[in-house]
């Protein structure tokens, strides 16, 4: 009976939320029309950007100017096309309602950027090239950038997975076994807070290759937060879960792997996210000083030649690269922690 009442209550509650206006309304009715303002914002911004660019194009190197013209024209055509076919495609409408305001803002940012750099020359060159210069660097250097990204990815994956593997093992041991806690915690407390990049001088002396030391440094940077949060998650496992499992006949292996670790997963994931942030930082630092490949290396190399268009191109790629990896980890977490109520969405 209680269940029936609960179900009834839920049904009522959900019908109430459907009727009431609010921020949820957007997502619940994907068939709705896209507001005219939203629909027009991107094409209008595109026209303004293109007009402004054509106005100033004569003063720029022709290759640069032409490429950016193509880019803006392509953007404009795509958005006009999207606006034309959206009445027939509800998925596209939902996507447009969600992201069009953001795209419009991004185009306005490009307009502002071109205005202060290429048109009004308010910022000193070569440190602040216009958007067309950055785009040209991005396209011309695409092979090197791709190669750098690939090398960064290898280094990052190597260091991160090593750090996570060691961090999980040491975290589980410190969290579960009192002896491991007694001997491990002081090491963790003393060594852990040192930023991994501070070990660079030592790593250069100790390791046979720069690649090897970079992987070690990234692993070290990841190890600390993963160990800390795994250990605290394990040792904070609700005692009653362990009691219940014992009366079900659980031995130590079951208690660790089927009770303590699942119970610690929310905490472990916080450690994985903190470790990922630390690994990005260490990756770029290691590539800047020792390793002769990767995005960090490309960044400092471009800076050395004062090619700031390439610096911004590398920053753009880094933003996309790191954000993609972060998103992937969020996806993994959402899947693994599907049993939790109310997890933060990325």
């Amino acid at each position: 009976m209680k269940e029936l009442a609960d179900a009834n209550e839920q049904a009522q509650a959900s019908s109430v939320t459907k009727r009431s206006p609010g921020p949820q309304k957007r997502d619940e009715r994907p068939a709705e029309k896209v507001p005219g303002g939203t629909l027009l914002a991107v094409p209008v911004a595109g026209v303004v950007a293109l007009g402004l660019h054509l106005f100033t194009a004569a003063n720029e190197p022709p290759a640069e100017a032409l490429l950016y013209t193509y880019f803006l024209s392509g953007l404009l055509i795509a958005t006009v096309l999207a606006a034309a076919i959206q009445p027939l495609w509800s998925g596209l409408r939902k996507w447009m309602r969600d992201t069009y305001p953001l795209i419009a803002a991004a185009v306005f940012f490009l307009i502002g950027w071109e205005l202060v750099t290429s048109i009004l020359h308010l910022l000193p060159l070569p440190y602040f090239p216009g958007p067309s210069g950055v785009l040209l660097s991005l396209v011309n250097d695409r092979a090197v950038l791709f190669d750098s990204t690939w090398h960064s990815l290898l280094l990052l994956l190597g260091g991160y997975s090593l750090g996570v593997a060691v961090g999980l093992i040491s975290g589980i041991c410190i969290g579960w076994f009192p002896h491991a806690r007694y001997w491990g915690m002081p090491i963790l407390k003393i060594v852990g807070p040192i930023p991994a990049t501070a070990w660079i001088p030592l790593a250069m002396v100790l390791s046979p290759s720069a690649m090897f030391s970079a992987i070690g440094l990234i692993a070290l940077a990841v190890w600390f937060p993963v160990t800390m949060l795994t250990a605290s998650g394990i040792s904070n496992t609700r005692a009653s879960y362990l009691d219940v499992a014992r009366t079900l006949g659980a031995g130590r292996v079951y208690l660790i792997f089927n009770v303590a670790i699942p119970a610690a997963l929310p905490s472990i994931f916080i450690g994985l996210f903190m470790g990922l942030g630390a690994s990005f930082l260490t990756l770029v630092a290691a590539e800047t000083v020792g390793v002769k490949s990767g995005l960090g290396w490309y960044l400092s190399w471009a800076q050395g030649w004062a090619e700031y268009g390439k610096v911004y191109a590398a920053l753009l790629i880094m933003a996309a690269f790191f954000s993609t990896i972060m998103t992937a980890l969020f996806k993994v977490r959402d899947r693994v922690l599907a049993w939790q109520k109310g997890v933060i969405k990325w």
Binding site: K2, D243, R246, T247, N258
Partner: protein
């Protein structure tokens, strides 16, 4: 009724013997003051018997159950299931708490199955999982996570999880205390049904005098500080019992009197 229930033979219960058990705790940290939680507690429960323990809060009821479960150890005295001494927790003695304590990361089916997994017999006894899901009436909810369940449903999952390992003794620590009155009566009948099908020895700790009278063969009345068994009441009325029968009500006021809550 009995025949349609879970496979396996009825009469799974074992007798339980508690002999002169004493347990104390540090009253405050870093002092030598000790509180005596249990003082020379002795009683026996026959195989397949349903016994309730009632008494005011802090009379050591839960401590006693933890000792029987093997999650804690007495200062002195002995605990036996059948003729075997209790040396630690195992699947022989199941325990259900007031909080169902379902593993939130497992679905209903996997929660119920967890005892079989812990014992390493999940594969050969796989069919029992569905039987137990049916037995507690949760067919449509097998693949749901615990946070979607109401209190009554969650407690039924906890009962199924505790029973699937076929314990000889089932310890119930106020399992229905958090349920509303109607759900509680419903689950009481369900517990009785499960008990009658299996004749698992049941030891129920409760605050609820009606519940104790409705369900038990015998009621142990405990007094606090130090925890002692004050009186044992035997009931031999046929089940199902009528909650408004004059005998029921007379017994109720008698117990209230014993617990010092009667009209003075």
């Amino acid at each position: 009724m009995v025949a349609t229930l879970v496979s396996g033979v009825a009469k799974e219960g074992s007798s339980l013997h508690v002999t002169n058990v004493t347990k104390d705790f540090a009253a405050k940290e870093r002092t030598n003051l000790r509180t005596l939680a249990l003082d020379g507690v002795s009683f026996s429960v026959a195989a397949g018997e349903f016994v309730s323990i009632i008494g005011p809060s802090a009379c050591g009821k839960s401590t006693l159950l933890r000792l029987i479960a093997g999650l804690d150890f007495p200062n002195s005295g002995e605990l036996h299931v059948g003729s075997e001494a209790i040396t630690g927790a195992n699947a022989e003695r199941g325990l259900v708490f007031q909080d169902p304590n379902l593993f939130p990361w497992l679905t209903v089916r996997r929660n119920i199955r967890s005892g079989l997994v812990a014992l390493g017999v999940a594969r050969e006894k796989h069919h029992e999982v569905d039987e137990f899901i049916r037995l507690v009436g949760l067919e449509g909810f097998a693949d749901v996570y615990p946070h979607h369940l109401s209190g009554g449903m969650a407690q039924r999952v906890a009962l199924a999880r505790a029973l699937i390992t076929h314990p000889k003794v089932l310890l119930l620590d106020e399992p229905l205390g958090a349920l509303d009155a109607f759900t509680r009566m419903q689950v009481q009948d369900e517990v009785l049904r499960l008990w009658q099908a299996r004749l698992t020895t049941m030891l129920l700790v409760t605050h609820d005098i009606d519940e104790a009278i409705y369900m038990s063969d015998r009621i142990l009345i405990m007094t606090p500080r130090p925890g002692r068994i004050d009186r044992i009441i035997s009931l031999d009325t046929e089940r199902p019992r009528d909650r408004s029968h004059p005998d029921f009500l007379r017994l109720r006021s008698e117990i209230l009197q014993l617990l010092d809550f009667g009209r003075r």
